[in-house]
Amino acid sequence: MSGPVPSIRVVPEIPGVWRGRTAEQVQAVSTGIAALDAALPGHGWPIGALTELMPFTEGIGELRLIFPALRRRCQEKRSIVFIGLPYILYAPALVNAGLPLSRILCINTAVDDNRRWAAEQILREGSAGAVVLWSPVDADIPLRRLQLAAEAGKTLAFLYRPAKHLGNASPAAVRLGLHAAAGGIRIDIAKARGGSVRRSVVVCARALS
């Protein structure tokens, strides 16, 4: 276990309990982007809960969006696990983004069930700094399993899903629609358990380094 890191807000909480608008109760890791932190309960990506990211276009900074948090987890000497990558995760770009390659683990398997199984195992075990999963899944039970696994292991859990599912219900704690915007990326907060202050945030491209 790593020691307390001042920049992470660690507030004791019981996972899975609806807390209305008491945003401070959510345990989170800063997104590294002030405008986004301000819009999310707990001021960052929730720990021990599922965050869904649904890009409407590919190549708009949808992955770089979570990199500041991933870098922080690597500094805590924890690994980042990418599961079910849709394309080649390009190692030279990771190095340039400041992610140490020795902390990166990729799991590629053709069957979506196996990807979600692997994600669940890793989330539940709890040592990993973050799990980043791509899955076309749109059924309540598999999503709920992922959410429960993230709660059990108190891990950061990011799930990239097709944007067409944004309108459907999901047990994830945070659900974001990602759009291309002039000079950056527009983040529509579709759901934020623990209450959200703003519905939409635009992050400029420079902030996504």
């Binding site: 276009t57 590919e58 190549g59 708009i60 900074g61 949808e62 992955l63 770089r64 690994s79 849709p86 394309y87 080649i88 995760l89 390009y90 190692a91 030279p92 770009a93 990771l94 190095v95 340039n96 983004a97 400041g98 140490p100 390659l101 020795s102 990166i104 683990l105 990729c106 799991i107 590629n108 398997t109 196996n114 199984w117 692997a118 195992q121 890793i122 075990e125 040592s127 990993a128 759009h179 291309a180 915007a181 002039a182």
Partner: protein, 477 residues
């Protein structure tokens, strides 16, 4: 300086009355018995616990037993399989002793333990370890401990407590009934005809009179029993390479059926590795089938291990995701390369306490279920062509030092297989020329651009020279 006082010899004997059954199957909750032929008749020689309910016991005629319980499952005795089981036990026992020996005819195994008592903290802790091990291996054993091999077996038969002092051995053996002695029933009958019932009464007789009546072999046995003559016991020596075969008494068709023999084999393997202060990272499982090529499975561990429970988990996951071509007739487990260990690593390798052990166990499970190639790390490689500037690395491979960022050459997070473009999005900034020659195995000349599509996506494109064609090669995700 004093020379160390040699420890007195002490033998631990495991008598395995149910070995004929337990070497074949782990079934105990159904009525199963092993039969052996004696002349024209077939006799039960070992029965599962569930047989007792139907008043079926070893020593009964097979026909009689079937009349009591027609559902009784009968298995033919396999001397070969019993011998294999004893060899496996001797391999397992090497973690406790440097001298293990067995007698397939008398269903027993001996271990010399006098020299290791101090290492294990005395006889009782050692007996606890042995009993626990025997139980997890799935055997029923009675233990006898004495200064001579024959006496230890006799004490096991008589279920009597350990005798450690050679000078008190004769006295302690006196109450043992004669029918437990390994002599012909006719001789026992003739001794009882003389009014003798216990060993002590026989020992009181003058030995020349006994020799005349029962032959010199009987006298030699008594001498070995009491330690007056050395026992010609030969130690079993395991080969340095681990290879264990298990023949299935019937074909195994279910995955669960494979688990019992594999669990036993892996516990034996742990004993083998402990005896050599070693661990393994790879294990090969070969399943033999009738009229089919054998199925060969490799199991790999991220860190060297010898923990049977951990290996079992890996093996189970590996089998779960494999398709076996046909029912299994025979299992062979091979461990080729042993990794030597220093004492300092033990805690981590034996599992449980190490800081990262949960994590490495998890990685092994993932690899066992999804395949070795499915779980990998990333590394840079020296090639100039962008598609070859990276590579996958296995988790147990040695890593290069962490590379430094190269901010002069921006790269996209997603790399795509090159796709030719008909229409061009808006190009941004200056191109980056990437050239490789024949020395790189590929002759390419490309100008790379960042470009923005109408939908607002950022692409990584290149114009190929000399063809002038445009290709999409990456996404700035």
């Amino acid at each position: 300086m004093h020379a160390p006082i040699p420890s007195p010899t002490l033998w631990l004997c495991l008598h395995l009355p149910r070995l004929p059954l337990e070497s074949l199957t782990a079934e105990t909750d159904t009525a199963v018995a092993v039969v052996d032929r004696k002349g024209p008749r077939r006799w039960l020689i070992a029965c599962s616990e569930a047989c007792a309910v139907h008043a079926i016991d070893a020593g009964q005629d097979a026909i009689l037993a079937l009349s009591r319980y027609p559902e009784l499952k009968l298995l033919e005795r396999s001397l070969k399989q019993e011998r294999q089981a004893l060899i496996g036990l001797a391999v397992w026992a090497e973690q406790f002793t440097s001298f293990a020996s067995f007698d397939p005819r008398r269903l027993c195994m001996w271990m010399e333990v006098g020299s290791v008592l101090r290492y294990f903290g005395g006889l009782d802790p050692l007996l606890d370890k042995v009993r626990h091990g025997i139980h997890t291996l799935g055997y029923t054993a009675v233990i006898g401990v004495a200064p001579t091999p024959e006496a230890s077996l006799l004490l096991a038969h008589a279920a009597m407590p350990p005798v450690t002092d050679l000078t008190k051995l004769g006295e302690n053996l006196r109450p043992i009934p004669l029918n437990l002695l390994p002599i012909h029933p006719d001789e026992i009958a003739s001794l009882s005809a003389l009014g003798l019932q216990r060993l002590g009464e026989v020992l009181d007789l003058p030995s020349d009179a006994l020799a005349r009546r029962y032959g010199p072999e009987f006298i030699a046995y008594l001498s070995r029993l009491l330690g007056r003559l050395p026992d010609p016991l030969q130690p079993y020596r395991a080969p340095q390479r681990y290879r264990r075969r298990f023949e299935c008494f019937g074909q195994i068709e279910s995955y669960e059926g494979l688990l019992f023999p594999l669990k036993r084999i892996l516990i034996e393997l742990e004993g083998f590795l402990r005896a050599r202060d070693a661990a393994i990272q790879r294990l090969q499982l070969v399943f033999g089938h009738e009229r089919h090529d054998p199925t060969v499975l490799e199991v790999r561990s991220t860190v060297p291990t010898r923990d049977a429970a951990r290996l079992f988990l890996l093996v189970r996951e590996r089998i779960e995701r494999s398709v076996l071509a046909a029912p299994v007739e025979e299992i062979t487990v091979v461990a080729r390369r042993l990794v030597p260990l220093g004492d300092t690593q033990l805690v981590l390798i034996d599992g449980g306490i190490g800081n990262n052990s949960g994590w490495t166990v998890l990685l092994d499970r993932l690899r066992a279920r999804l395949g070795d190639d499915a779980v990998h790390g990333l590394e840079l490689s020296q090639a100039h062509a962008p598609e070859r500037a990276w590579c996958c690395v296995a988790l147990d491979e040695k890593r290069e030092a962490e590379p430094a960022p190269d901010p002069r050459h921006a790269r996209p997070l997603w790399l795509l297989p090159p796709r030719e473009l008909d229409t061009l999005p808006q190009l941004l900034g200056k191109p980056e020329r990437i050239e490789t020659g024949w020395w790189d195995g590929q002759d390419i000349r490309r100008d790379y651009y960042k470009a923005r599509t109408e939908a607002g996506a950022d692409w990584w494109l290149y114009r190929e020279e000399p063809s002038g064609k445009w290709f999409l090669h990456g996404l700035w995700a």
